[in-house]
């Protein structure tokens, strides 16, 4: 991870009076797994389109793999693979033929294509439907084949636009595993996502994008530093009644008390929280404590602080 593999400077793009990307700059290092995180309409897809040759920037420069390819993306397209947000394979071709066709576009020889297609169908769990037409695939299968098509020619740089959106847990996990494997083998990966947790778990560095602007680029560990050492305890109780937050607030003046997403309580503190005391207090009030979870503050909290967006806006 030494030199910049993708270098973007002052990139800007408008559609009529909508400014989709408003002058962004960042570098993606060689071999890095770089995440682009932002809500709907932030400009993520527009950015990918400009970096891959599907859209022309209004201003700014792009360098990919050392090649200055501003306004001449064709010169770097042999280095990149793209997995778009919508599957764009041929409905009337089989999975296998789709992959072979994609390999052909990158000049792979026939024997090379066939071997690689079989290997990828196996890897993505699609060997059983290799001969089925793409139009007959389920959504998750389509997504997996689209990813396979993107890496058919083993590109050193891979762009993925929301690779895990709209597919089931198992497909998403398989996708993440394959991406991590590619990352380990040295592929530079640029992915966009709504899922903060996914970005936190997978990415080396993350760019927060809101309203066409990149508001922060940093490593996950740096991003979570401000909330490091802070602790959160979430407790859920049996039954329909919920603990009174005010009473708890009086009992624990040093802690921040709030309602958790699942209806239980959420306690936040700069230091260590004594879980035993929390359980005892709740039981004294007549509650049956079902579960107590101790977690660190997450990237989501950081994202909300930096962008000023409300919690939950990302996963909608």
């Amino acid at each position: 991870m030494s030199e910049a593999h993708i270098r973007v400077s002052g990139l800007r793009k408008s559609f009529g009076d909508v400014t989709a990307v408003d002058g962004i700059s960042f570098d993606v290092m060689d071999g890095e797994l770089f995440g682009f995180l932002g809500p709907n309409g932030a400009g993520k897809t527009t950015t990918i389109n400009m970096l891959t040759g599907l859209a022309r920037p209004d201003a700014g420069t792009i360098t990919v793999g050392g090649i200055d390819c501003t306004n001449k993306m064709k010169s770097a397209q042999h280095l990149i693979g793209v997995v778009p947000d919508e599957s764009n394979l041929y409905p009337e071709l089989t999975g296998y033929d789709n992959l072979c066709f994609c390999g052909g576009l990158y000049g792979m020889r026939s024997s090379e294509r066939k071997g690689r297609a079989v290997e990828l169908l196996e890897l993505f769990g699609l060997a059983g439907v290799a001969e089925r037409k793409f139009s007959g695939y389920s959504r998750g299968m389509k997504r997996r084949l689209t990813i396979a098509a993107g890496i058919m020619h083993s590109p050193p740089i891979l762009f993925l636009d929301e690779p895990t959106t709209g597919i089931d847990v198992q497909s998403a996990r398989l996708t993440r595993e394959i991406l991590q494997e590619l990352h380990r083998s040295g592929t530079t990966i640029f992915l966009t996502t709504h899922y903060i947790e996914e970005a936190e778990r997978m990415c080396d560095r993350i760019a927060f994008m809101v309203n066409g602007l990149v508001v922060r680029v940093d490593s996950v560990s740096n991003l979570v530093k401000p909330v490091e050492g802070r602790e959160v305890v979430q407790a859920s109780v049996l039954g329909t009644e919920v603990p009174d937050l005010e009473i708890l607030g009086d009992l624990f003046p040093d802690y921040g008390i709030g309602r958790a997403a699942d209806g239980g309580i959420r306690i936040e503190s700069t230091g260590k929280i004594d879980v035993g005391v929390v359980v005892r207090v709740l039981e004294d009030q007549g509650f049956d404590v079902a579960e107590v979870k101790r977690t660190a503050l997450s990237l989501e909290d950081v994202f909300i602080r930096i962008t000023g967006l409300e919690a939950g806006v990302m996963n909608k």
Binding site: N49, L54, P84, Y90, F101, C102, G104
Partner: protein
């Protein structure tokens, strides 16, 4: 960084070109419904005209050039609407735009299928003429074959130019009819351009099909109105012009 030497690069581009062409062949042109549709159209037209004007060899020779032109024109334009406009609508075209293949070569690959299909269609009227025992001995095949190829190319590129100017399949159809039907009338397909009203005649010379059909008239019955070399030159110029215009439009409109 991956550095390709020149031969390697050429080989890869050739592979990409063939992949696109073969894919289109398999996905569109060689499908039984398309083959029969491609054959049916020239069959019906040719049959209709031949029957209407009597089966005499004279008649067939004067109708054949128009029949060949019209078969190519409709074959290529309707196919291109599918391979380009439809694919673009279905987003699959983006995959092509993402490939490390120059836009010009990409368009050439996408159009060569339609060109081949047009050439194939052109031979249906010849076949019917042959079955009707028309005397082919005076035909100048050295002119007919290149003329057929050029007509197929020019009408494909015209259709491509149309395809990049619209975004919906039905628009492509409507817009291409806007060109196709006047061309049947204005390009000397079934009666000489000189029989058109004076004010329409200049228009004929702005349409490529006039020159292509003129070559066929000359090569089949020896009644061309312009020198064949001039016709060929004009066809080549039109092909170049339409290709460049279409390419410029793609650059401007599709790489947004």
């Amino acid at each position: 960084m991956v550095v390709l030497d020149n031969n390697d690069r050429k080989g890869k581009l050739f592979t990409a070109f063939m992949s696109i062409l073969m894919k289109d062949m398999r996905a569109y042109y060689l499908k039984p419904p398309n083959i029969s549709w491609g054959l049916l159209f020239p069959l019906v037209w040719t049959g209709m005209f031949f029957v209407k004007s009597g089966m005499g060899s004279e008649n067939i020779l004067s109708l054949l050039p128009g029949m060949v032109s019209i078969s190519i024109l409709f074959g290529t334009t309707s196919m291109l609407a599918v391979t380009v406009t439809f694919e673009r609508k279905a987003k699959a075209f983006e995959r092509l735009l993402l490939a490390p293949v120059p836009l010009g070569l990409l368009m050439f690959a996408k159009t060569s299928g339609a060109i081949l299909f047009g050439i194939f269609n052109a031979f249906v009227p010849f076949l019917i003429g042959f079955i009707l025992l028309t005397d082919f001995s005076a035909f100048v095949w050295e002119a007919i074959v290149p003329a057929v190829i050029l007509i197929a190319a020019v009408s494909t590129f015209l259709a491509m130019f149309i395809a990049v100017s619209v975004s919906e399949v039905f628009e492509a159809q409507t817009f291409s009819n806007f060109f196709r039907f006047p061309m049947m009338f204005l390009c000397g397909l079934f009666f000489p351009v000189s029989e058109l009203p004076d004010f329409l005649q200049p228009l004929s010379f702005l349409l490529p099909l006039t020159y292509g059909t003129d070559i066929l008239h000359g090569a089949i019955a020896g009644n061309n109105m312009m020198p064949l070399s001039f016709d060929f030159l004009m066809m080549l110029l039109f092909i170049l012009l339409l290709f460049v215009l279409a390419l410029r439009n793609i650059h401007r409109k599709w790489v947004m």
